[in-house]
């Protein structure tokens, strides 16, 4: 089963088309293994991206260098998944 230790979900606020294209460039890079939860759109909606722990630093550097604002909505994805899993096991029992 896939594990997500230390992975985080970033909520990135984009203000215009230029920032959207920068972000699209970031999320499409293969080596960062980003998983888009809510896609960039031109309707000033925030973009949610799952960032693997190994990519946290390069992604933060990129966002900072591009002046893109972001917040962390889920600090440790695996912790949430463990809760969910535990509850399901309990309920199945």
């Amino acid at each position: 089963r896939e594990k997500f230790f230390g992975d985080q979900v970033f909520r990135i606020n984009v203000r215009n088309g230029d920032e959207i294209s920068k972000l699209s460039q970031l999320v499409s890079s293969d080596n960062l293994k980003l998983n888009v939860w809510k896609s960039p759109s031109t309707f000033s909606r925030p973009v949610d991206v799952l960032v693997p722990s190994v990519s946290l630093q390069p992604v933060k550097s990129f966002l900072k260098s591009q002046g893109l604002e972001y917040s962390v909505t889920i600090k440790d994805l695996q912790a949430l998944l463990d809760n969910e899993d535990e509850e399901m096991q309990h309920n199945e029992g």
Binding site: R1, S41, L50, L80, E84, N91
Partner: protein, 312 residues
């Protein structure tokens, strides 16, 4: 005795088998109203079951409503809301005048897990899997986005031709057997008036189109109905939904189920993006299942009552 004690905990997430057992249990508890119907199978040959709610003996194709859930497997709140809704429809018939009169004029078909293989995969291998589990010849990447695979501006904007993409549209429309099973069933039935697809997350209530910014011919009416539904939904716990056409509310998306339904004459076509707005995203805690299902029910009922009063 077991059936009447009904051990299924609607406030928890369940395996595919448990959901299918509960569908069978609902059909067993309400034999004059509900039947579990197999409409096809998935790529990995899992059955696809719908619950049919009908107050006639299926003599003729009455006007019907299709409630779809779980097409994106990681959106667990949609499958959980759907199975709760199934029990609600059955137990409220004969008690709630709204659902009673709806069922006296129309049939309701409810598909809680539109992507069985993906759902099992989220429970056994990768909780964040979204697509089907079909094999893409020539690619190491698995799966097609089943909500980009319908024959509605197929392979247009908002979909990808890359099998490794989360929004890969597939080699051709209806390439996914899970999509084709629903398309064939609805086309063979021929008298659906309403198609509602449950997704998560973002708290949006949307109507066609996703594949173009062009205004749908019935957009004004659909917008009005959606706003009434969102208002009814918010009346329970204050959960606010945004309303609008898919393309300009969230993002362009070609090949979607709701656009296909609308373009094939099913006028009342809506997409719900359920709770939340991103705090938990796809990992909405189980303690929010019942509050989410209860508020969504008020929105669904508003839409279904409008359909009942405006059959065409």
């Amino acid at each position: 005795q077991e059936r009447s004690s009904n051990k299924f905990n609607y406030g928890a997430y369940h395996s595919l088998e448990a959901i299918y057992r509960e569908m069978d249990s609902i059909a067993g508890d309400f034999p004059k109203l509900a039947t579990r119907v197999k409409i096809g199978h998935s790529f990995e040959h899992r059955p696809m079951y719908v619950l049919k709610f009908s107050t006639t003996e299926g003599r003729r194709r009455r006007p019907a409503i299709w409630l779809n859930a779980g097409i994106h497997s990681r959106e667990w709140i949609s499958q959980a809301t759907a199975i709760w809704t199934a029990r609600k429809i059955a137990s409220d018939y004969g008690k709630d005048p709204a659902i009673t009169t709806i069922l006296e004029k129309m049939d309701i078909f409810l598909l809680p897990v539109a992507n069985p293989d993906g759902y099992v995969y989220t429970q056994t291998r990768n909780r964040l899997w979204r697509k089907t589990r079909s094999v893409n010849p020539g690619s190491r990447c698995i799966g097609v986005d089943p909500n980009r695979n319908w024959n509605a501006s197929f392979a247009g904007q908002g979909a990808s031709d890359n099998p490794c993409s989360e929004i890969y549209h597939g080699p051709h429309a209806n390439s996914e057997v899970e999509v084709k099973s629903v398309v064939d069933f609805i086309q063979e039935h021929g008298n659906f008036k309403c198609f509602i697809d449950l997704h998560s997350y973002s708290q949006l209530l949307m109507y066609p189109y996703g594949y173009t910014v062009k205004k749908a011919p019935d957009a004004d009416e659909l917008d009005e109905v959606a706003r009434c539904a969102a208002k009814a939904l918010a009346s329970l716990s204050g959960t606010t939904y945004q309303v609008g056409p898919t393309c300009t509310t969230v993002y362009p998306a070609s090949g979607s189920s709701v656009d296909w339904a609308y373009d094939h004459g099913i006028k009342y076509a809506f997409t719900f993006e359920l709770r939340d707005t991103g705090h938990y995203g796809f990992l909405l805690p189980a303690n929010q299942i019942i509050p989410t299902a209860e508020e969504t029910w008020l929105g669904l009922k508003t839409i279904m009552e409008h359909v009942r009063n405006n059959l065409y």
